[in-house]
Symmetry: D2
Subunit: 295 residues, 4 copies
C-alpha cells in the first residue's frame, strides 16, 4: 500500500518503521525535517509537506501531538485534504478530540475521500516492537481496506463503531482511566507514607497480591522511585488528554466528578513546572504535602 | 492453637472453617447465635460472649464489621480485654481505623496481653478457599507466634511493620484504591456510552488489552452487567472504608483530593438507597446522568 | 455617537434602549429580526447584518450569547471586521473567553480598527434601568473615546487594564464566584434540611445576620422557594461561563479545585434537563439526595 | 442568674465579661488557670473544675474548642454532669458536632438536667462588644428560662428548633458557607492574577459592585493583603468545623460535593504548616500555583 505518513515523533517513528518493514511504500513528512533524515538515509521517500506526502497515496496516516497539529496538517492552508488518490483513506492515529474527528470525517466526505480514526494504545517502545493496540472506527469498507495497514502497525485491532469519533472517545476513556490510576497510586502512597509504609511495600500488596496488572506495577514503580525522566508520555500531553476527556464528556452532557478533579491536579502538576516529565509525576505531586516536602 | 473466634459473618465464617480444618481448637462467638449453629453442629465449641470465647485462649481473633463492633467486643463492658491466657494474642482481622488499632494496642499492653493487627484482603469466597492475603503488623514475637494461624487463614502474609495501626493503614489504602477503580470504571463507561460504546467493549480494550487485571475485569463486568446482588462487599461497608481512609489521612495531615470526592460519591450512592448492594454500584451511580436515567 | 448595535437579547435590548435614550444614533441588528421590530417601530434604524450595522459607525457594540456568536458576527464571512468608520471602536460587551478577546484585539488591530472589551455585570432588569456595572479593558485612548457610551450603558465603569482580555477574565471571576455561592447555598441548605431546618430560616441567619449581601439574599430565596422560572440567567449560559473560567485559568496554568468540581455540577444539572431554568437551580440539584427526592 | 462558665478562650472571655457586666453571678473555670486570673482580679469567683463551676448553678455555659474538650468537661470523670441546681440548664455555646449535642442532651435528661445548644456566630471582638448572634435550639421552657442570658451574651437570638443538635447543624452550615467563600475568593483571585489583575481591584468589583457583603469585604482584604496574623479564627479550628460539617451531613446521608473538596483544601493548608494562622489563609494556599510561588 502507498502510504503518506505525517508525524515522526517517537510513536510515529516506531509505527512508520513497522510499516516500512512490512513492505509498504512510504512517503514520510515531519514538520522539523531532521526527524525524517533516518528514513531518507534508508531510502524511504520524504516529502516537504503533509500535502505532498498524501499526494496520490492509498492511505494518509497522521500521528501528531494534538488537535491543532492535525487540523493544520489536514484542514489548514496547503493541508492534505483532497490530495489522496482514488479511494484514498486518511487514517488518523493521533489522540484527538472526538469533535475534531467528526469535523475531519465531514471534510473528507465533502472532498470525496474516506476517513478512519485509529488511535493507538501503548508506549513508544511498544510501537517499535509492533505491540500497539489499535482502536478503530469508521466506514466498514474503509476499515476493511486498511486492515493490512493496521496489522502491520500493531498486534491487535478493535473496531468499535462506524463513526470515527467513537474510536477517539474510547482512546480518551482509556487514558483517563490510566490517569486516575496514577493519581490513586499517589494518594494511596501518601496515606501509607503517613503511617511509615514504604511505597514499594504498599505496591507489592496492592498490585502484587490484589490487582496483578503489569501496567499498574510499572507506573507504581515509576512513582515509588521518582523516576520521571525520560518521559514515556509527557505530563503536558497527559494533561491535554484528560482535558479532552472532560470536554468530550461535556459535549454529551456526561458528568465526570472524579475526572474533573483529576484534570485540576494535572494543571497543578504543570504549575509546579513538571510539563516535560513523565505523566506519572502527577501521582507524586498529587498531594500538597508532598509538594511541600519536595520544595 | 486454642483460638477464641469472634464474628461469624461471611468472611469470619470462611476463616473459622479454615482454622478448624487446620486442626486448631476453636471457641466461636457471634452476636446473633444462629451464625454459630453450623459450627456447633460440627462439634465446634461456642461461647455466649466475646469474653467467654477469649477465656484462656492462645489467640483471640476478631472479624467484625466496624470500629464500633470491635470496640464493644473488646473494650466495652464485659469485653474480652484481659481474658486471654498467658502470652495470649488478640489478632484483629477486621477493617478498622488505625486510630482504634492504636487504642487496642495500648489497652492490651496495659492488660499484659499482646495485640496484632491482621486485616485481610479478599472476598468471602477467597476466605473459604484459603486464598486470602493477610496484612500484618505488630510486635515481632507476637507475629511470630501467630504465624501458624496466619498460614491456616490465608495463602500469603505480608508483615508491614511493628505498629499494629500500620497494617490497618495498608488495608485502607488497598480499599481506597479499589474504590477509586470502581468510580473510574463508571466514569469511563459514562464517557463511552455518551458516544454509543458498549461497556463490555470498552472493558475488553481497557482491561483486556491494557491493564490486564483480573480484579478490574471482575468489577468491570459487575458494573457493565448491573449485577449488584448478591453483594460480595456491601456499599455501606465500602463507604465506611473510604471514610476511614480519609480520616486516617487527615490524622497524618495528608490531603487526598480524589478520595475526598470519592467519599462524597459513596454518600451519594447511599442516598439513592443502595446501601445493601455490592459496592461496585458506586460505578453505576457515579454520574448523575445515569442516576437520572435509572429512576 | 453613531453606534452599530448587534445582539438584541434581553441584556442587549435593555442596553440599546438606554443608548437610544441618551441620544446616540443607533443601527441595530439581531439574527432573528423580530427582536429588532420594537426598535424599528420607534424609528431606530435596523440593519440586515452585523456588517451593515457597523458600516461607518464610531462604535460597534456586540452583546451576544457566546464565543461562537461573536466570532461569527465579527470574524466570519461577511462579518463586521473592517467595516467601522475612521477611529471606530468595537466594544465587546458579551461574556466571552479571554482567548477570543485576544484574537479579536489582534484582528481589529490588523484591520486598523480599535477594540475594547466591556463585559457587563448585572441582570437584564438592571440593564433596562441603567444599573449595570461595566468592566472595561483596552487601549486607553479607545476607552476614553467610549466613555460617553459606557456612561449611558451603565451606572459604574471599572477600567481594569489595557489588554482587553483582562476585562473578560474579571467578568469570568465574578461569575464563577456567584456560581460557587449558588452551590454553597445548596449544600448549606441540604445540611440544614438533614436536621429539619427550613431553608428560609437558615438563610435568615446566614445572610441576614452574617453576610448581609443583597445578592446572596436574592439567590438564597430563589433556591429556597424553587423559583427557577422565568430564568434571570439561564443555566446553560451559567454553565458556559464556569467552563470558560476553568479554561481561562488553564491557559495560565492556574489550578481551580473548587471551581473544577463546580463545573461538573453544572454539567450534572444540565444532564437533569434544567438547561433553560435559572442558573440558581444548580443549588437545588447540587446534591444527589435532592435530585432523588425530586424524581 | 447564677452561672458556671467554663472555657475562657477569646470568645469565652468576651462573653463572660458581658454576663458579668449584665449583673449575673459567675463562677468561671478554665483548664489553664491564668486565663481566669483577670476575672479573679475583678472579684469574680473562680472554680478548680468544670464540676465545681456548675455546682448548684442555674446555668452552666460551656465555650470550648472542640468535641473532646466539651465531652471531657461534662461527661468525663469528674465532669459537670449532674452538678447543676434544680431546673439548671447546660447552655452549650461551643461549635460541636450535632452528634455530641445529641449525646449531651440524652445524658442531661437522664441526670434530670436540661440542655440547650446555643452556638454563637461572630468573631472574638464581636463577643466583647455584645454583637454576637446566637443560634439556639432545645426545650422551649429551658430556652425561655435562658432568654435573659442570651440577651446579655449577644445582640440577636435565633431559635431554630427543639432538638439541640439543630442549632449545631445551623452553626456548621454557616461556617461551611464562610469557608467556601474563602476558597472561592482564593480561586477568583488566582484567575485574576493569571491575567494581571490586582486582588484588591477584583475585590472592589466583586464585592463592591456586586455582592456588597461586609464579611466578604473583610475576608477579601485579609487574603489580598496576606494578613493572616493575628488569627481572628485559627485555620485548625476552621478545618475542624468543615470536617464536622461533612460528618454531620454524612450522618444524614447528604452528599456535599463542594464542601468535600474544601475539606481536603483545609487539610492541604494545614499540611503546609499554617494551622495557627487565620483560616482565611486557605484562600491563599487554595491553588498549588500560589503555594509554589510562595515557597
Amino acid at each position: 500500500v502507498k502510504i503518506g505518513f505525517v508525524g515522526l515523533g517517537r510513536m510515529g517513528t516506531g509505527i512508520a518503521w513497522r510499516l516500512v518493514g512490512a513492505g509498504h511504500e512510504l512517503v514520510v513528512y515531519n514538520r522539523t525535517s531532521e526527524k525524517a533524515k533516518p528514513f531518507a538515509d534508508k531510502g524511504v521517500k520524504t516529502a516537504e509537506s503533509a500535502r505532498e506526502a498524501a499526494q496520490g497515496a492509498d492511505a494518509l496516516i497522521t500521528m501528531l501531538a494534538d488537535d491543532a497539529a492535525v487540523e493544520a496538517s489536514v484542514l489548514g492552508d496547503g493541508g492534505a485534504l483532497g490530495a489522496l488518490g482514488a479511494r484514498g483513506v486518511h487514517v488518523s492515529m493521533s489522540t484527538i478530540s472526538p469533535d475534531l474527528s467528526r469535523r475531519l470525517a465531514r471534510a473528507h466526505r465533502e472532498a470525496k475521500e474516506r476517513y478512519v480514526a485509529a488511535p493507538v494504545v501503548g508506549r513508544p517502545q511498544a510501537a517499535e516492537e509492533g505491540e500497539l493496540v489499535l482502536v478503530v472506527a469508521g466506514d466498514p469498507d474503509a476499515v476493511g481496506d486498511m486492515k493490512v495497514v493496521f496489522d502491520a502497525a500493531g498486534k491487535e485491532t478493535h473496531v468499535v463503531g462506524e463513526e470515527p469519533e467513537q474510536a477517539n472517545a474510547v482512546k480518551l476513556a482509556v487514558n483517563l482511566f490510566l490517569a486516575v490510576i496514577l493519581e490513586a497510586l499517589g494518594e494511596a502512597y501518601a496515606l501509607g507514607e503517613g503511617y511509615g509504609i514504604d511505597d514499594r511495600l504498599l505496591l507489592a500488596i496492592l498490585n502484587g497480591a490484589v490487582l496483578k496488572s503489569p501496567v499498574i506495577d510499572g507506573y507504581g514503580k515509576l512513582i515509588a522511585d521518582n523516576r520521571f525522566e525520560p518521559a514515556g508520555f509527557r505530563l503536558d500531553l497527559g494533561a491535554k488528554d484528560v482535558r479532552l476527556a472532560v470536554e468530550a464528556a461535556e459535549r454529551k452532557i456526561v458528568p465526570m466528578p472524579i475526572v474533573s478533579v483529576l484534570r485540576d491536579r494535572f494543571v497543578a502538576a504543570q504549575a509546579l513546572g513538571n510539563s516535560g516529565q513523565d505523566w506519572s509525576i502527577v501521582g507524586r505531586v498529587s498531594t500538597d504535602r508532598r509538594v511541600n516536602a519536595g520544595t
